[in-house]
Each structure stands twice: as structure tokens, then as C-alpha cells.
């Protein structure tokens, strides 16, 4: 069983929901990203999604685009993303890490080299936003033997036929996109999401977590109630945008920056 599956199974045993924050690696700097990850875990994060910055993030809204731009301006490369994970792993071997991003930087590194680095750094899962199930075989052939989970998005627009091929390729958890749009937009119809998750439960035993548009305790409570967990990205990246790359912050100050995660943890623990 992978570290991701173990984590979610243990949460389910305790009747708890998974809390998965997303931040961009290198935003605002590589050392601060590592410190922020520890702060997130201290506030109750179960899994961390770490964004691999890309110059053209066409599935992301303005907040995460700007986060990626800050990271790239700071010179963050894919090797730096692995360095972040390695550094984090020196103190935390328990919290699963999922790398989320776009395909081109991986293509340029080469699939085999990427798979080797992923394993060496201690990454647990991958979510490549612009790599649909029918194009994934080659990359997955490289990463699967390393025991890496391959996570997929399911959108409100996903057809039943596609659901099947996605579920066949997806491991770890299924990421349900709450809305039609990009990251950071607002959720409008939670009943429709509940219905769709109901449908997904009939098709797959995979844990289902909800992301896109979860920005406060209220939206987190609603979505956690109908799923196995929630992903919080833009709301967090927006708060991180106020940090300066060249300044030192105490762990306490960083805890305040990611305080939202603590509030959401408390809220969803009441479910």
C-alpha cells in the first residue's frame, strides 16, 4: 500500500476527512517552501500537493499563475522542486507529497530521468493536469515501477465513458474538480457535486477529494461533508503572495500565513 493510500485509509478509520493544501514550489523561495510545508503539517495537513511551476499554466486562475511566475522569477527549476521534497523528507517521512503541474518540463527532463528523481526525492504521487488518460502510458510506464501514485482530475464535464478510463489509470485518490473553470473560481452548485460524487462511488472504490474553489471553512465544510477530503490551493497561494522571498520568517509567522489550514482542519474535524 502506498503512503497516500495508507494515510487516507487511516483517516477513514478514524472517521476523518483528508485535508490537502496546494502550494507552488519555489514561491516565494525554495527554503521558504520547505518551511511552509512543515507549517502546513503542523496545522493539520494530511497530504501536500506541491506545484511544479510552469510558464503557461492554462488550467490555473490568476492567483496560481502569479504564484508560478514568482517561483520562476526566483529561478525555480524542476531540480529545485526535487530539492524541496528531499529537504522536507529530512524531517518528515510520514506526510505524502503529490507533485502537480504540466507536462512540458517533464518532457524536457525526460521521463526516465524524471521517474528516477521522483523516487529519489521521496515523492508519492503525480498529477499532470494536461496529460489525459489516453496520452499517459509512456510516462506511467516510467513512474509506476517506482510505486508512484498517478492521480487524475474528474470534471463536471467528464463523460461516463471517460470516467472508466480515468478510474483504470488513477491510483491514490480521485481529484474531483468542483466547477467548470480554472483554479480559484467560486463554487456555485454543491448539490450537483454531491450527485456526481454519488455516481463516482458506484464506479470506483478510490477515495474522492474535492478541489477548485475551496477558499474558507464554509466551502470546505460543504465539500468535505460529501467527499473524502478537500484541496485548498488559491486561497493559500494568495496568502503566501504576501511573503517576501529574501526575508526570514519564524515558524510562528509562517503558521499565521497558513492559518486558514488550521481553521479548516478544526471545522472539518466536526464532521
Amino acid at each position: 500500500m502506498s503512503r497516500i493510500s495508507k494515510t487516507i485509509a487511516s483517516l477513514q478509520e478514524q472517521g476523518k476527512k483528508a485535508l490537502i493544501p496546494y502550494i507552488v514550489a519555489g514561491d516565494p523561495s525554495v527554503p521558504l517552501t520547505v518551511a511552509l510545508m512543515h507549517a502546513l503539517v503542523a496545522k493539520g495537513a494530511d497530504i501536500i500537493e506541491l506545484g511544479m511551476p510552469f510558464s503557461d499554466p492554462s488550467s490555473d486562475g490568476a492567483v496560481i499563475q502569479l504564484g508560478a511566475e514568482r517561483a520562476l522569477r526566483a529561478g525555480t527549476t524542476l531540480s529545485d522542486v526535487f530539492a524541496v521534497v528531499k529537504e522536507f523528507r529530512t524531517q518528515d517521512t510520514r506526510t505524502p507529497i503529490v507533485l502537480m503541474g504540466y507536462l512540458n518540463p517533464i518532457e524536457y527532463m525526460g521521463y526516465e530521468a524524471f521517474a528516477t528523481e521522483v523516487e529519489k526525492a521521496g515523492v508519492d504521487g503525480l498529477l499532470i493536469v494536461d496529460l489525459p488518460a489516453y496520452e499517459c502510458d509512456e510516462l506511467f510506464a516510467a513512474v509506476r515501477p517506482k510505486g508512484i501514485d498517478t492521480i487524475f482530475l474528474v470534471a463536471p464535464t467528464t463523460s461516463d465513458a471517460r470516467l472508466e478510463s480515468i478510474c483504470k489509470n488513477c491510483t491514490g485518490y480521485l481529484y474531483y474538480v468542483s466547477l467548470k473553470g480554472v483554479t480559484g473560481a467560486a463554487i456555485s452548485d454543491s448539490k450537483a457535486i454531491e450527485d456526481k460524487i454519488g455516481l463516482l462511488r458506484d464506479i470506483t472504490p478510490l477515495p474522492i477529494v474535492v478541489g477548485f474553489g475551496i477558499k474558507d471553512t464554509e466551502s470546505a465544510l460543504k465539500m468535505a461533508a460529501i467527499s473524502d477530503g478537500v484541496i485548498v490551493g488559491s486561497a493559500l497561494v494568495e496568502r503566501i503572495s504576501h511573503l517576501a522571498a529574501d526575508q526570514a520568517y519564524s515558524q510562528e509567522a509562517l503558521g499565521t500565513t497558513v492559518g486558514l489550514i488550521g481553521e479548516i482542519r478544526e471545522a472539518i474535524n466536526t464532521l
Binding site: S59, D60, L72
Partner: protein, 413 residues
């Protein structure tokens, strides 16, 4: 060579190296569908609709009717006699796409995609634009069909192409200034993809070039192939044979693939795609991914790209906004690899020079994009004999560029 021989060659079964793409949009290893999950259903639906309609003669009859009565096709194949004498060597013939309604080849594609939007019942269209020609063509067709239209344009390009911005507004389109990234065509395309993901139920995305996720590279090519079909027939009619060479500029590559595609099986016709060499390919400041890039994935397809060593898309440099794009249509990547088309580059300076030559010698002001093709054709013609001839795709007219050229000349107009 006889016309008959050409025709029998075209009649052979389609399953050869030029029959792509496959069902998932691959031209060899290029193309495909690389978009976020929210958009997959939309591109799959478009693929289904297009597969069905493209087999329906009534669809093509409507397309042809619009091209004839609204666009003004066929566009002439014109012998540029003074330009030929100037360069020396092979005859230079211009395929006059600049004479189309709205002033460029872009309208051929928007007519076709608007027919698809109409069939699919989408009341809202969106488009990305670089030089503004595709934006104007989209705004035009939206006005004609009474559709709501949003055009995404990089803030940098809005500055360079203010006349086209105003044309779009006159036509009733909303022009959205894109401030992210390098604030040019690639960023406009990102923003259009975000809009599409958000408004996927009521919106049709009219992609302006032969790139993007499948089925766009295929359908844009099919709509632009009218250029090559006409040129082929005109060549046979006016000169009794096929041309020795074809030359077209390549940004995303829609005018080039439109000219080339109907000739691909005519092995005796040489083809040259001319990329934007900017300050010179050797300087790194250019927009020539086929000349100096490597394959990667951007905007829904695998193709040659200009990325840094870490796979981040690089800023491109070209005097021509319409060629200022770090990728290229996937079919061009394939045609490069199999060696059917030669991809070369012309610098800003060469293009500006040809812009002036064509204007002064033929009384035709070409778009800066098309000037790249003219520049290379001049060099090529000089190496060929006077009994040979070259067809150059004059993809657009240059009215939109007069401010850019005036500024380079230090003139305020």
C-alpha cells in the same frame, strides 16, 4: 507533366504518410490532446461534430458559398513580374490571400469554424489573436451571425496593433487585454483556454492557427486547404503544370499548411516554410521553433517549441506580431521530421526589406508576416532558372503594419 498524371496520383487511397492525423489527432508523434480535464469533453464533442459534418457535402457547399460570395474567393494567382526581374531567376507568383475580405487568409478558417459553432448552437465565440487578423476575422463572422464575441489579445500586441483593436471593437467584439506572462499571443491563448473551461457550455473557441488540441490542427488545415486547392488548379490552368516550389510564412502555420497540404503528394513540388528569424536564429532572439527548438507540449499538442532547458516556454522575438509564437502546428513538426517540407527563417531586417520591395515594385503592401515568405522566395528564386516558378502565399495585406514600419523609420503618422 500532364494534368492527368497529377490527378491519378491524387486518386490513390488516402492511407499514406500524409493521411494524418489518426483518431486521437497524432501526426506521427506530434499533435494529440493535452488539455485539462474540463476541456476534454468539449474537444471530443467538436471532434464528433466535425467528423460528421465534414462527410456531409451540404456542409462544404455552404462553406464554399460563403467563401465565394462573402470572402470573394477564389483569390488570384498573380505573376509579380518586376519583383521577379529584381530577384532574377525563377518566376514569383503571389497567391493573393491579402485580397480576401478582412485582408488575410484567417477568414477562411473562421468561416468554417463559425459554421460549426452555428451547428452546435453556441451563442458565444472566443478567439485569441496576435497581429489582430484572426481577431478581426472572428469579430467579423460574429457580427455577421449575431454571435457574442470575446477576443483575447496580449497587452503588448494591443499596443502594436491598435488599428486592428479598433476594427474589432467597431465590429462589436469585446477585446480583452492579457497582462500575464509575456503579454503576447501565447498568453492570449492561455487566457482563451481559461475562458473556454469556464464557459464551456455556451462557448465555441475559434482557434486561429493549425495548432491546439485535436481536432483543431486538422479542421483548421481543412478550412485553409482551399488556398492550396485553388493554387494547384490555377497553376495548372495558367502555366499548364505544377509549381517547382511553394513558400509560406510559418507562425502557428495555418496559411502554410493550407497552401502545402493539397500538394504534399506531388513529390516534385519543393516546399519551404519560413519562420520568423527575429534578430537572427543564431542570436536566440527569434520565433523559429522548427529552426531552433525541440519537441515538447504546449496548448494542447505535442510539437516543436521554444523552451529553456527546464521546459519553460521562452519569450519570442519578431517584428511581426502574427509570427510571435513559441510553438507551431503539429503537422509542420511532422513534415519537418519526415523531410517533406524545408523549414527556414527570415530575419526582421530581411522581412522589412521585402515589405518595401513588394510595395514599391508591385504596388502591393504585404503584411509583415507574409513579407518573411517573400524574403525567402527572393533568395530561392535567385538560385533557380527562369523557366521555373515559385508560388508565394501572400497571406495578408500590410495596412495593419504601417505604424510598425513608420516607427522603425522614425516617422510619426
Amino acid at each position: 507533366m500532364s494534368e492527368l498524371k497529377q490527378d491519378s496520383r491524387n486518386a490513390q487511397p488516402a492511407a499514406d504518410q500524409f493521411s494524418g492525423p489518426d483518431d486521437h489527432g497524432h501526426f506521427g508523434r506530434y499533435g494529440g490532446i493535452f488539455v485539462g480535464e474540463t476541456l476534454i469533453a468539449a474537444v471530443e464533442e467538436l471532434d464528433q461534430v466535425y467528423s460528421q459534418l465534414s462527410k456531409d457535402p451540404a456542409f462544404w457547399a455552404e462553406f464554399d458559398k460563403d467563401l465565394k460570395y462573402y470572402v470573394g474567393r477564389p483569390s488570384p494567382l498573380y505573376f509579380a513580374e518586376r519583383l521577379t526581374a529584381h530577384y532574377g531567376g525563377a518566376k514569383i507568383l503571389l497567391k493573393r490571400e491579402d485580397l480576401n475580405h478582412t485582408g488575410a487568409h484567417k477568414i477562411n478558417n473562421t468561416i468554417g469554424q463559425a459554421l460549426l459553432a452555428k451547428f452546435m448552437g453556441k451563442p458565444r465565440i472566443i478567439a485569441e489573436t496576435g497581429a489582430g487578423q484572426h481577431g478581426v476575422a472572428s469579430a467579423t463572422i460574429a457580427a455577421r451571425l449575431g454571435l457574442e464575441c470575446y477576443v483575447y489579445m496580449g497587452a503588448e500586441d494591443i499596443k502594436r496593433q491598435s488599428a486592428n483593436v479598433y476594427r474589432m471593437k467597431l465590429l462589436g467584439a469585446h477585446v480583452v487585454s492579457v497582462e500575464s506572462g509575456s503579454r503576447t499571443l501565447k498568453d492570449a491563448m492561455n487566457e482563451a483556454l481559461r475562458d473556454w473551461a469556464t464557459n464551456v457550455d455556451n462557448t465555441f473557441y475559434i482557434i486561429g492557427t493549425a495548432a491546439g488540441p485535436h481536432p483543431y490542427p486538422k479542421l483548421v488545415r481543412d478550412f485553409q486547404a482551399v488556398i492550396g486547392r485553388e493554387a494547384r488548379a490555377q497553376s495548372l490552368e495558367q502555366y499548364g503544370r505544377l509549381p517547382d516550389a511553394l513558400v509560406a510564412c510559418v507562425g502557428g502555420g495555418s496559411n502554410a499548411i493550407g497552401l502545402f497540404h493539397p500538394f504534399l503528394r506531388d513529390t516534385e513540388v519543393a516546399m519551404y516554410g519560413v519562420e520568423a528569424g527575429g534578430d537572427g536564429v543564431e542570436t536566440g532572439r527569434h520565433a523559429a521553433p522548427l529552426s531552433d527548438g525541440r519537441p515538447g507540449v504546449l496548448h494542447g499538442n505535442r510539437t516543436y517549441l521554444m523552451s529553456d532547458a527546464g521546459g519553460q516556454i521562452m519569450e519570442t522575438h519578431s517584428v511581426s506580431a502574427g509570427l510571435d509564437y513559441p510553438g507551431v502546428g503539429p503537422e509542420h513538426s511532422y513534415l519537418k521530421d519526415i523531410g517533406r517540407v524545408n523549414y527556414v527563417a527570415a530575419t526582421d531586417k530581411e522581412a522589412l526589406n521585402s515589405f518595401r520591395e513588394l510595395t514599391r515594385m508591385e504596388g502591393i503592401i504585404p503584411a509583415l508576416e507574409s513579407s518573411h515568405a517573400v524574403a525567402y522566395a527572393g533568395k530561392l528564386a535567385a538560385t533557380m532558372s527562369p523557366d521555373q516558378f515559385i508560388i508565394v502565399n501572400l497571406s495578408g495585406r500590410g495596412d495593419k503594419d504601417i505604424h510598425t514600419v513608420a516607427e522603425i523609420d522614425g516617422i510619426q503618422i
